[in-house]
Symmetry: C2
Subunit: 311 residues, 2 copies
């Protein structure tokens, strides 16, 4: 067994205010990199968190991350107000309305990696502007690396050329169903996956929310495909951050393998972990469930998920 | 290995006129029982088809079914015009518009099973009115039986009480996602499955279209759940009948086992077959692909599907 590899996770670190049909909570830990780094911390160490926070960012959120071994040295502290998202989920817990996005300190942020962070061989470009993602890529000093990236519909709309540039430099791209159809220009998801792979990444994962995900990769035996269901949940408290958790756990598991030349089946196993860890994020607001996850519980759910999905 | 059991499939036998974004065909074989009986014929024999056709029904459709060993003795021939459906699929191949439904001979049809057909231990109530489904149930003379049923949104709207009565008499209920949410009165699919099981059937299968299906049954080890993806298709020519094919193959495989006290894992294996056989229906208009399906091709796709879904 090789030593786990260091991971760097860059993205947003936010204050979230979330409303659902049954509850409402404010001043929560949010942001793509917060969820992703916490999820990765269950599989590997060190996990370097890269992002920007304002003067008003709650210390308790940082303490929680640190208590999980997430390194905060890569966080920039700015005089402005923290990036804040306020949104509301509707009855089906899938559709949501964003009431307010205060970009604040994120607006003028330029990534600046310390030498230690820049050398991490597993790099996660969680959802943030393609410009920030490109800055991270360009500052990487790892002689060999595996880069995972996520995005959102906003960037496809306003920074498509920059996003396409990022795609040329990464190894694994995670994107949700609707965004995949838009970016690939086709309604058929199997075609979309192949079109997105042709833009650069060796692996593409199309996320289907409660219906799971599809992995596309260089595996001719399986037509290059693997299909996953999501772990079924009877109660969804707050799905915010599920996709970011998925990405972080996926990256963390890969880092735990201690090498970079992943096989198709290793990527597949990583996605299984991502799917199951993401299910915990949905069970409570913010990271409240994810931050209290005993290893034996995670292992039991992983086994249950296999029994529910494989024959 | 026990002898395969006889299956009876009741439902609609239709003439379909189908338009897609790229093609249009008329005078096609359609109807829930046509697809289901043909699919079942790949696994067991005899398969008795029960339904009503008009004077104008194309003989070639009947000949095709007969060439697959489907017994046509249970078909009622009426003087009226055949049940006809005309519809159009939109760009994403999921949404469709029904341009015309000519109920014709189906309007006054009352099920009347011959003694041989009535004694079949595996009974499939493919999509038709709950009144016709109840007639089939009441005429069954099998001392022990396993009954599978499907429905559609129309019946939930106009014959809900009759449908709920049917649910009390069946063993496995197949329903699509939107209908399940409506009939169960909840947006959460896991809750919906459990609510529907409480209405009577020991097993419930919620179909998710291209995203697969969820099986709910009496298996406490897996929380009573199994999740399936659909077989991924790059080109969908015409999805009409995919759900009916799924149901028929599922029933045919169960019949091939030669007993009626199915385990959870046998139901699971049957759904795997249903999913894979249904993928062929989507590859061409009407039953054109399904009716030309060499066994070795089906077995190869079944194995490929397992490799794409299990770890």
């Amino acid at each position: 067994m090789s030593e786990p590899l260091p991971v760097v996770v860059g993205g947003s670190i936010a204050i979230d205010n979330v409303k659902t049909p049954t509850a409402e909570e404010t001043n929560l830990l949010g942001g793509s990199a917060s969820y992703a780094s916490l999820a990765a911390s269950y599989f590997t160490s060190p996990v370097h968190l890269v992002g920007v926070i304002g003067h008003d960012f709650p210390e308790k959120h940082l303490q929680m991350l640190e208590s999980h071994g997430v390194s905060l040295n890569g966080i920039t502290r700015s005089d402005g107000a923290s990036f804040t998202w306020s949104g509301e989920y509707h009855e089906n817990m899938n559709d949501r309305t964003t009431h307010n996005v205060a970009v604040n300190v994120l607006e003028d942020w330029t990534v600046s990696l310390t030498p230690e962070v820049a050398s991490a061989p597993i790099m996660v470009l969680a959802n943030m502007s393609p410009q920030n993602q490109q800055q991270m890529l360009e500052q990487s000093t790892a002689p060999e690396r595996f880069v995972l990236a996520d995005t959102m519909d906003l960037w496809i709309g306003i920074a498509r050329a920059e996003l396409e540039e990022v795609l040329k430099g990464i190894d694994l791209f995670v994107i949700n169903e609707g965004e995949a159809r838009e970016l690939a220009g086709t309604t058929n998801l199997i075609q979309a996956g192949k079109i997105l792979r042709a833009k650069g990444p060796r692996y593409v994962v199309i996320k289907l929310g409660e219906f799971g995900a599809i992995l596309f990769g260089p595996n001719e035996d399986h037509h290059g495909l693997f299909r996953f269901s999501a772990f079924p949940l009877e109660e969804v408290a707050d799905p915010t951050g599920a996709g970011d958790t998925f990405l972080g756990a996926l990256a963390g598991y890969l880092a735990s393998l201690g090498h970079l030349d992943f096989s198709f089946n290793e990527i597949r196993d990583a996605i299984v972990r991502g799917t199951v860890v993401a299910s915990y994020t949905c069970e409570a607001f913010s990271t409240h469930r994810l931050e209290k996850l005993p290893e034996e519980e995670l292992l039991a759910r992983l086994e249950l998920f296999r029994e529910m999905s494989c024959w």
